[in-house]
Amino acid sequence: MLKSLSVLVENRAGVLNRVSSLFARRGYNIESLTVGVTQDPAISRITITLRSSDEQINQIIRQLHKLPDVLLVRHLSPDESFSRELVFIKVKAEAASRAQILQIIDIFRGHVIDVSPTTLTIELSGKDDKILALKGMLEPYGILELVRTGPIAIERGVRAMNVTHPEKE
């Protein structure tokens, strides 16, 4: 089933490559991988979603722990975390169909971020099922482009995922 891992890494050269190539060479299939800097500019957070068994995910976490760049790994359970991704969809929108499309976007709480005489570009954030539902609704009009960030995830409640820097303590 689909699993989500959050990995805090030190921002060293090539760290994303090290993490992603570890998955490639051990034969783990990544569904998505996103990376971005955290509140500490020296630390990045990688969110990986992948399909694997419980046994395999533990093996992956152990392999990640062997990389010196890796500071902290957490397996986020769907019940105790939020997960969202952002999508841009550029859809064909002639004058005749524009109103219908805008109505659909409204239902999904999406936003129009660009408009041209023949297209609309939509921004939507949400979970996979919501994105797929909107995609299904827009398909009859003609989707020209669809870009997804891949999900990011965060735990519910007070539990925070961060590491300390000895010099700052």
Binding site: E10, G14, N58, R62, K66, L72, H165
Partner: protein, 568 residues
């Protein structure tokens, strides 16, 4: 101090007694520092020779082996050795020069992305881009080579950083806390291990390479085996972890292991594996090994990622061998297992006696020679002298593993995981350089020997007490054996019918050598080899029809072992 001097000064401060390498454009400045500090550097004849020599040095001494190479081709020539060190957990520090920082990525002369190339075959690697980080990186790299599970680490240093003056006051080091789950140590689980031992009627202790490389691991292993009276087998990498004449020692298990060790592996009800990663040469078919889960498997390894990777463990313990045995011995309950285990031990002992009789029959002189006889004769001649025994890869490697009882840990040096032909000669040079007071023996096949034969030049220079036995059967014997058994004797590209005259080659390098073709001449040549103060090469003419048995065909179970001359 410039960057190059900082590197060499660092190596001297770490007590490096010998480093192996090869100069080139971007590292001239590094070699200038070697010259200035009179650093003990050994010039090999190829960078592959340097990295294997560093491996041999590390395997014997337990200290990190150091090798140096220039950018581009120099660095890429290290690749095979780094992969070898990675699979056999050998602490190697490789230092390579890179093109100047401003040239990186421009496809400059002798530029290769060696950090990219070696990333999957090193424990970790670095491209130094900030001069202030050079020393902290060297320190971290040095620590990483031996910390936890040992392995190779590469530090790639651009030419301009080697050349620039680096103020020591600039040196910074910063580190975030690294969060790792608490180790599942022995202390918390020792009672479960003892409970499993008490339930067991057919236990087997499997000692892997981790027992050899763990500090104090072999002494503790011996105390544990003696204390409990548990039968013990080793992997190829674990050879030497326990005295080979120990009554409870069953030999090496796996593909070319002994019948008794494989019987034990196939029939045990409790497998206690310590410091082994369950390679496919130990258990050919992981899925069929314990299908109903009735066999209890306890896996002890310093690397948590090895536990459950290939074989599912009922109990996983994240400890090194010494830590495990010491913690176990500290809480040893007053239980006498001998009655419960005696039938099992007798069964294994019968197998052991039966196989010994088959083995003894192999030790007859013949013309051409059999490899078993050669190995046995050499072992007999050096009995009690505790030599370092090095092999290359192939049939001879397995014959040495089977027929040479090594006398101490860290004395059997072989390429296990990667199976690198050409490993033998340079590794033996490195091993001998680490233990110049002992005799080092190298057994190499005619195929593998020719892969790194140029390192004879180093041997001629260093005059190390290294005695080489070239097991020349005029073919690539191990592949030929598989062709004979599984490919209808189609000896495709495995016949070396125009080998050079190895004695003339040795003499061309100024090394004494001779040929052995029968029992008499072998005896004579062994005497010459042992009488020589420095190196000596014995060219042994070996019967090409001799195959390595016992053998478990690839993917089969321990009980599918083939051993001609032995019943069930």
């Amino acid at each position: 101090m410039n960057g190059a001097e900082l590197v060499i000064d660092f190596l001297i401060r770490k007590g490096v007694k010998k480093a192996f390498g090869y100069p080139g454009g971007p590292v001239i400045i590094l070699y200038e520092a070697i010259y200035k500090y009179e650093f003990p550097h050994v010039l090999t004849r190829h960078e592959q020779g340097a990295v294997h020599a560093a491996e041999g040095y590390a395997k014997v001494s337990g200290q990190p082996g150091v090798c140096l190479a220039t950018s581009g081709p120099g660095a890429t020539n290290l690749v095979t050795g780094l992969a070898d060190a990675y699979l056999d957990s050998v602490p190697v520090l490789a230092i390579t020069g890179a093109v100047a920082r401003e040239s990186i990525g421009t496809d400059a002369f002798q530029e290769a992305d060696i950090t990219g190339v070696t990333q999957p075959i090193t424990k970790y690697n670095y491209l130094v881009m900030d001069p202030e980080e050079l020393l902290p990186i060297l320190e971290e790299a040095w620590t990483l080579t031996t910390e936890g599970r040992p392995g190779p680490v590469l530090v790639n240093i651009p030419k301009d950083i080697l050349s620039m003056t680096i103020e020591l006051s600039q040196i910074k080091s910063s580190s975030y806390a690294r969060h790792r789950p608490p180790k599942i140590k022995t202390q918390a689980l020792s009672d479960k291990v003892y409970a499993a031992l008490a339930r067991s009627r057919r236990p087997l202790l499997l000692a892997g390479g981790g027992c050899v490389i763990s500090e104090g691991g072999t002494d503790d292993l011996l105390r544990f085996v003696d204390g409990l009276g548990i039968p013990v087998a080793t992997t190829l990498m674990g050879k030497g972890a326990i005295p080979e004449d120990h009554p409870l020692f069953l030999g090496i298990l796996g593909m070319h292991g002994t019948p008794q060790a494989n019987t034990a592996l196939g029939n045990c009800d409790l497998l206690l594996a310590v410091g082994s990663r369950f390679s496919d040469r130990i258990i050919g078919d992981f899925k069929s090994y314990n299908p109903d889960g009735k066999r209890q498997i306890i896996h002890v390894d310093i690397d948590p990622a090895e536990i459950g990777k290939n074989v599912k463990a009922d109990l996983g313990i994240e400890d090194d061998a010494a830590g495990f045995f010491e913690a176990m011995l500290a809480v040893r309950p007053e239980i006498d297992y001998s009655a419960d285990w005696s039938a099992w031990k007798q069964e294994l002992d019968r197998k052991k006696q039966e196989y010994q009789a088959v083995k003894n029959a192999m030790y007859e002189p013949s013309r051409p020679l059999t490899p078993q006889f050669v190995v046995h004769q050499v072992a007999n001649a050096l009995k009690g002298q505790n030599p370092v025994v090095v092999t290359d890869v192939g049939q001879h490697q397995q014959f040495v593993a089977q027929h040479y009882p090594v006398e101490s840990p860290r004395s059997f040096i072989t390429s296990g995981g990667l199976g690198t032909m050409g490993f033998g000669l340079p590794a033996a040079i490195g091993a001998s350089a680490a233990a110049p007071d002992r005799t080092t023996l190298l057994f190499a096949g005619d195929g593998g020997f020719q892969m790194t034969i140029q390192e004879l030049g180093v041997l001629a220079k260093l005059r190390l007490p290294l005695k080489i036995f070239i097991m020349d059967n005029c073919c690539l014997g191990m592949v030929r054996q598989w062709q004979e058994l599984f490919f209808d004797r189609h000896y495709s590209q495995t016949i070396l019918d125009n080998n050079p005259d190895f004695v003339m080659i040795a003499e061309a390098y100024g090394l004494p050598a001779g040929t052995a073709c029968d029992g008499e001449s072998l005896k004579e040549q062994i005497n010459h080899a042992l009488a020589a103060e420095g190196p000596y090469i014995v060219h042994c003419l070996i019967n090409p029809d001799e195959n390595v048995f016992p053998m478990i065909p690839a993917g089969k179970m321990p009980q599918d072992l083939i051993m001609p001359g032995m019943g069930d």
